[in-house]
């Protein structure tokens, strides 16, 4: 379970998070929505331990992400998978080497097993035949697929998705959403999806949390939010759903 307790974060005097309290259940897929520049990615980076909050705590299975020992943090990160907004693929490596990277560097698996797992995962994300290409030689949608394959290659317990469909055309975005959905069903990880493109993701998440003015303004199943009469929720959703 992921829990944020009274999380505050500011940059140069500008308060971005003003006491975020959030609980994400094990195995749940939660979408964190809100305006662009509203602090969603900051909240995600705080959860992942890449950014330190000014005040408050992030607990993952009871372990304080920012105030734990190095070995505890390391063991937490070994259970993480992250799909970064731009993919964060290593541009000097091929698609195959990118996906194989955690298995080689972290898990030190035999090369035969690595090949088998990487090829299986690439096939799952529909990228058979692209294993020898470099990130610069493939499209944005393909890069996201490679990044997804790399994020889940070690069967993580928690996967963070930072704007997984931003910048993609509607069809590619839909295929990435379906891919995330099928991967979640297959691996049953706890997932946190940060996005400002709310609509399409409602069909694949268990709950949606709306970050507004540095706080969680609303949280609940997608249907509940869609039917909400809260003016903040309505303003945001109406803008997307027309």
């Amino acid at each position: 379970m992921i829990e944020t307790v009274d999380l505050h974060k500011s940059f140069n005097g500008q308060q971005v998070l003003r006491g975020v309290n959030l609980r994400i259940r094990e195995g749940e897929m939660l979408a964190l929505i809100g305006k662009s520049g509203g602090g969603k990615s900051v909240l995600l980076r705080n959860m992942m331990g890449l950014m330190r909050p000014d005040k408050g705590r992030v607990l993952i299975d009871g372990v304080d992400v920012h105030n734990s020992s190095t070995s505890q943090r390391k063991s937490l990160k070994e259970r993480f998978g992250v799909l970064f907004q731009g993919g964060a693929l290593f541009d000097s490596m091929t698609v195959f080497d990118n996906v194989a990277f955690p298995l080689r560097e972290k898990w030190k698996l035999p090369e035969e097993e690595i090949r088998e797992r990487v090829m299986r995962e690439l096939s799952m994300v529909g990228l058979e035949g692209s294993e020898n290409k470099y990130p610069a030689e493939i499209s944005g949608g393909m890069r996201k697929r490679v990044a997804l394959a790399r994020a889940i290659i070690h069967n993580p317990k928690i996967v963070f998705f930072d704007e997984p469909t931003t910048g993609l055309d509607p069809l590619t975005a839909k295929s990435i959403r379906q891919l995330i959905h099928s991967t979640h069903a297959r691996l049953n990880f706890t997932g946190v999806i940060v996005t400002h493109e709310a609509g399409g993701l409602f069909s694949i998440v268990d709950r949606v949390a709306l970050l507004h003015d540095g706080k969680i303004a609303a949280i609940g199943p997608p249907r509940e939010l869609l039917e909400s009469s809260d003016p903040v929720v309505r303003e945001f959703l109406d803008a997307y759903l027309g």
């Binding site: 390391k74 992250v82 970064f84 964060a88 541009d91």
Partner: protein, 264 residues
Amino acid sequence: MEERLALEPIHIIRWLGRSFLALVQTAGQMGIFLCQTILFCFLPPFRWRKVVERIHFLGVKTTFVILLTGGFAGMVLGLQVFYTLRKFGAEALLGPAVALSLVRELGPVFSALMITGRAGSALTAELGVMRISEQIDALDMMAINPMQYLVVPNFIAGLIVFPVLSWFFDVIGIFGGYLVGVELLGLAHGTYFGEIHTYLSTQDVLDGFYKSLCFGAIVIWICSFKGFFSGYGAEGVSRATTEAVVLSSVSILLWDYLMGSFLF
């Protein structure tokens, strides 16, 4: 107007204070970065293959530039020193003059400056791009220490590459001096090399080695730090690269003077 003028000293003091604090903070961060790098050199996992890759990146790709500049530096040195020595009737000492200048001073300094320009800047830009494209964050999230993976192999490679390329510079420079002194200006072949053998000691070679070892540590430290913590966007990477080259070059010359004055 009067009020604005009255506030000016305060603004200047505030700006000075802020700049000083920023300087102290950066110096502290750089100090911690260096300590961590040295510490991680001795902690597993040891990525020797990565070290070999970085030797290729820092050293092999810079060899041609080093040979070229070393050759010309030796030729210019041979020419200038020959004319100076001739005034004293001491042309026979051209060999040791060129060799000592190169081995103790010019070899380590010039080669370090050349490596900074060719490979140090590339290292900063590479790390900067990795920072802004979240590749460094990706490593961190895979529970792989980015400093151990990215900085330590470069640091170890730097400690190997800088002395080796400095020796290349020395050797080619001495042959450059030979070309001018012996082949063009008519000095005897035996005199040139014989006097080098007489005057150049092992200690001179070691002094040059210690210098280039220090330069290797300094350049890789500064270039890695600037790249690792570069600002965002293309402008951030470009600024980090410029700062890395300028700071490395100044540090090389400063450290060279300090070592020359106090140690040798």
